[in-house]
């Protein structure tokens, strides 16, 4: 979400395109001792489940990388299971892949231990582990299991009938009419028993499915109201990972509370207020916690409109959440922005042409989107090519996952260098690769490995993403991507990975 605000705040809306993102994947660039790593973690759809991990070493000499999943806090963070060695790619000795078993919901980390020519180093990647959906049975498997199931049912009924009809007969003796009658009666009773068992099994299956549905992630709810020029935010629990029964209290290692929020970058809550539908007014504000689950914010002067509110919080165990709500605001005439607050206004995105590929930036530069003829498709890796002005063109690599660029987002100040890294500066084009399915892989990462064709239920066509870019006239090129639609919030959260206090401490 910070990235969203960052993107929007920088926008003067040079170009607009729609791609399909909506991925929960986690990207992080960091140092494991002397080794610079770019890590991608793809959490599983279900918990317990197996996450995929890919590590690209940007430093030479890495011989072995071991990965182990650990809880971020508590006893589970101290006792580690045996780590797994990641498998090195036969084609690329600096690319490693492996699996992480996430057995419970909660705040996890993948701890990487790197061994190489320059010694050993470690790096931790925070992973919010939540079940996101359940998987439906495929038609083919359903058919096969149904056929076998019917065979088993009829077979069992036939066995019961035969047992009553023939089992006690002497060898060679033919069943009498009484035996046959007894067999038919047993068959009927057997059929009733089997049907009762199958019905009971079906009810049990449904109960298990309902129980699992209760464990599918539901973010905290938030209601917004206006009291004068004060914005009131009230959080509420939708009923996810609550410890109610005695057994849950004793055995559930992760429960969600509302009274355990910890500051993240100096604030309990970061609120992004974005006017709809134009995305033309963006505020980054910091409500104060009044009591557990209740926040208040004296609004700054704001234009009237319908706003979407995205509130970022972090629990004590490092588990991050983004709450979303909406509110209609009148024109607010109040205080100016203060402290870390920030805002930006720009042109509504609808006023941009969806066919025009040449745009004038605020600083007067021209930017051309080299659109090409290839249609934009959801769930497919795409390359967006841009030409800036007519003279200098850059090749940049998307490093959007890097947490280091989070700091500038807060105050819209400071260097923004990590977001796009200059790859080969004095070339004809700068090239930004984005991946509709997986996020934004490094140019140097093979697209095929980072943007595999595996579908995820999390992604739906409505998770459209507005790509908005702006280029400043300086030596570096800045480009921001804005995620407009709500279902994408977890992905963005994952990308930014704001959960981990440990990581925060490291950045600081």
């Amino acid at each position: 979400l910070k990235l969203l605000s960052f993107a929007l705040s920088l926008v003067s809306l040079a170009a607009l395109a729609h791609a399909h993102v909506g991925s929960p994947d986690i990207f992080l660039e960091g140092k494991a001792g002397p080794y610079q790593l770019f890590v991608t973690v793809r959490p599983p759809l279900t918990i317990p489940g197996v996450a995929e991990i890919e590590v690209r070493s940007e430093s030479p000499g890495v011989l072995n990388i071991k990965a182990v999943p650990l809880a971020i806090t508590g006893v589970g963070s101290k006792l580690a299971p045996i780590p797994d060695s990641l498998k090195v790619s036969p084609r690329d000795p600096q690319f490693f892949t492996g699996a992480l078993w996430l057995m419970t919901a909660g705040s996890w980390q993948a701890r990487l231990t790197v061994q190489g020519a320059q010694g050993e180093g470690t790096l931790s990647i925070p992973i919010p582990s939540v079940a996101r959906a359940s998987k439906r049975m495929t038609w083919g498997l359903g058919l096969v299991l149904s056929v076998v199931g019917i065979f088993l049912m009829t077979g069992l009924i036939a066995i019961i009938g035969a047992a009553s009809r023939e089992a006690k007969l002497d060898p060679g003796q033919l069943p009498s009419h009484a035996n046959l009658r007894s067999g038919r009666k047993a068959t009927l009773i057997g059929a009733l028993i089997v049907l009762a068992v199958v019905s009971g099994g079906n009810a049990w299956w449904n109960a298990e499915a309902r129980d699992y549905d209760q464990r599918i992630y539901k973010p905290l709810k938030m209601a917004a109201s206006l009291n004068g020029s004060n914005l009131l935010l009230q959080m509420s629990e939708p009923g996810w990972m609550q410890a109610i029964t005695l057994q849950q209290v004793a055995y559930r290692v992760f429960t969600r509370k509302m009274d355990d929020l910890v500051p993240d970058h100096g604030h309990i809550m970061h609120l992004y207020v974005i006017r709809q539908p134009g995305l033309d007014v963006v505020y980054h504000l910091h409500p104060e916690q009044r009591e557990n689950g209740s926040f208040v914010l004296p609004l700054p002067s704001m234009p009237a409109g319908h706003y979407k509110l995205y509130a970022d919080i972090v629990h004590a165990d490092g588990f991050p959440e983004t709450m979303v709500t909406e509110i209609d605001l009148p024109t607010v005439t109040s205080r100016p922005l203060a402290g870390d607050d920030a805002s930006v206004s720009t042109q509504p995105w609808q006023q941009s042409s969806s066919t025009n590929s040449l745009f004038t930036l605020p600083d007067g530069y021209k930017m051309e989107w080299l659109r090409g003829n290839k249609p934009l498709r959801a769930n497919e890796a795409m390359s967006f090519n841009f030409r800036l002005g007519t003279l200098r063109v850059w090749v940049v690599t998307c490093m959007r996952c890097s947490t280091r660029f989070r700091r500038p987002f807060r105050g819209f100040s400071g260097p923004i260098r990590p977001q796009w890294r200059v790859w080969e500066p004095p070339l004809t084009f700068f090239r930004v690769e984005t991946c509709g399915r997986r996020g934004f892989p490094s140019v140097r990462t093979p697209v095929s490995s980072n943007c595999g064709l595996r579908r995820r239920a999390f992604q739906r066509p409505e998770h459209a993403v507005a790509l908005q870019s702006q280029f400043a006239r300086c030596f570096f090129v800045f480009l921001g991507f804005g995620v407009r639609l709500r279902p994408c919030r977890r992905r963005v959260r994952g990308l930014l990975g704001s959960a981990c206090r440990e990581r925060r401490a490291r950045w600081r």
Binding site: L45, T46, I47, P48, G49, V50, V68, L70, A71, V75, G76, L79, A80, P81, I82, D84, W101, M103, W108, S134, K135, R136, M137, L141, L145, V148, G149, L152, T154, G155, L156, I157, A158, I159, G161, A162, A163, R165, E166, A167, K168, L169, D170, P171, G172, L174, P175, L180, G183, G201, W204, W205, E208, A209, Y212, L246, V249, A250, Y251, V253
Partner: protein, 398 residues
């Protein structure tokens, strides 16, 4: 549905029939019964090994030794019973043809069909379980629908073996059937050990001062004990079956920790350096011994009366010995290699009752009283069912 032979000519001639009978008078236990016995033994060992694997290492694959042992059950059962069904159906000179039943156009002894049903159920549970993991996560509990299908399949193989053996014994003209009866006793022991896998969660140590385990043990073990007593006719059959279960479980406590193991999954809440065995066995042996004494003296009673008295003895004696013994198991004195109460599953939260060596609250007295009444009622029904099935097995010829 089964096709019934309409004419006597559908059966082999009386010559071959008499040859069969003559052969069975002198023949030892046939190879397919030994094969099936090995299969159920393999599944039982594999099942407990797998549970220990999940408690100690956590992560598994299709090819873990424990899984292979379970799969060996399917392979051996497939060989034994598949051969039996195909040979009896298609061979003109099959000695078992007169002693077969007819299902779906196939002929074979009754037990072969039951065990084959179990094999197909076991096979079906594999893709079902795989899908279950994809849909609802990798389950870490014993009782889930696909696991129950697998357990039902294994039980069907055990029951099929028992039926096959009972049929063989009843057709045999041997006066004593000593080998058969001992083998029946062994398979009943295996069955009780397997049943306790199903009841492992509900009879775990922290529950032993609640009504749950006493309801659970009234539901299934009485069937096995009553059946083994009626079928074998041994005076202490139930005691022997309970002793087998006790020794098997104690053996696991003594043997499994000798082998090193470390968790390969997180979160790890308990330090584990070796394989974790199951809980100390429940003290079935005391009520089983009392039941044997009862059954020796009540052969002429009405079966319902036997079942009702058996249920009272079973439940009251079991509560009388297990309740105080459970208290002992929660004390530091039991945390040693013999009782093994300090062997804890690697992912057991420190807040859990098991890790704290504490009992669940017993619950309201009215609930407990009703629970014990329910246990008596359930026990009566299950003892009656076990006695009936024992008599039925003693009479089957096919």
């Amino acid at each position: 549905m089964a096709s019934i032979p309409a004419q006597p000519s559908d059966f082999p001639s009386s010559v071959s029939q008499s040859r069969t009978q003559a052969a069975e008078q002198t023949a030892a236990i046939p190879w397919y019964i030994w094969c099936a016995t090995l299969a159920v033994t393999s599944a039982t060992v594999g099942g407990y090994w797998d549970i220990s694997w999940h408690s100690s290492i956590g992560r598994d694959t299709f090819w873990t030794p424990a899984h292979l042992a379970i799969q060996l059950c399917g392979i051996l059962a497939g060989i034994a019973f598949g051969y039996l069904i195909l040979h009896t159906t298609f061979s003109k000179n099959s000695p078992l043809a007169p002693a077969s039943v007819h299902i779906f156009g196939f002929r074979a002894p009754m037990g072969a069909f039951i065990a084959s049903w179990g094999g197909i159920a076991m096979l079906t549970s594999a893709p079902f379980d795989n899908w279950w993991h994809d849909a609802y996560g990798i389950d870490v509990k014993i009782v889930s629908p696909p696991h129950i299908l697998l357990i039902m399949g294994v039980y069907a193989v055990v029951i099929g073996t028992l039926v096959l053996l009972a049929g063989h014994m009843n057709r045999s003209q041997s006066p004593s059937h000593t080998a058969e009866r001992h083998l029946i006793l062994y398979i009943n022991g295996i069955m009780l050990v397997q049943i306790m896998i199903l009841l492992m969660d509900s009879t775990s140590r922290p529950y032993l001062h609640t009504i749950n385990p006493y309801l659970a043990v009234a539901a299934l073990p009485p069937i096995v004990l009553a059946l083994s007593s009626r079928l074998t006719g041994f005076p202490f059959a139930a005691t022997a079956v309970a002793a087998f279960y006790t020794l098997f479980r104690i053996g696991l406590i003594w043997v499994l920790p000798l082998f090193p193991a470390e968790p390969k999954l997180g979160p790890v809440y308990q330090k584990v350096t070796h394989f974790i065995p199951p809980d100390f066995p429940l003290l079935f042996i005391v009520p089983a011994f009392l039941l044997d004494l009862l059954w020796q003296r009540t052969k002429s009673w009405n079966p319902w009366k036997i079942a009702a008295v058996s249920s009272v003895i079973w439940t009251s004696a079991f509560v009388a010995v297990e309740w105080p013994f459970a208290s002992f198991l929660m004390t530091p004195s039991s945390r040693n290699w013999f009782f093994g109460t300090d062997y804890l599953y690697y992912a057991l939260p420190p807040t859990s009752f098991m890790a704290r060596h504490a009992f669940y609250p017993i619950g309201p007295a009215s609930v407990v009283a009703l629970g014990f009444l329910a246990a008596l009622l359930i026990g009566t029904l299950t003892f009656r069912w076990g006695l009936t099935r024992g008599e039925w097995l003693g009479a089957i010829k096919r």
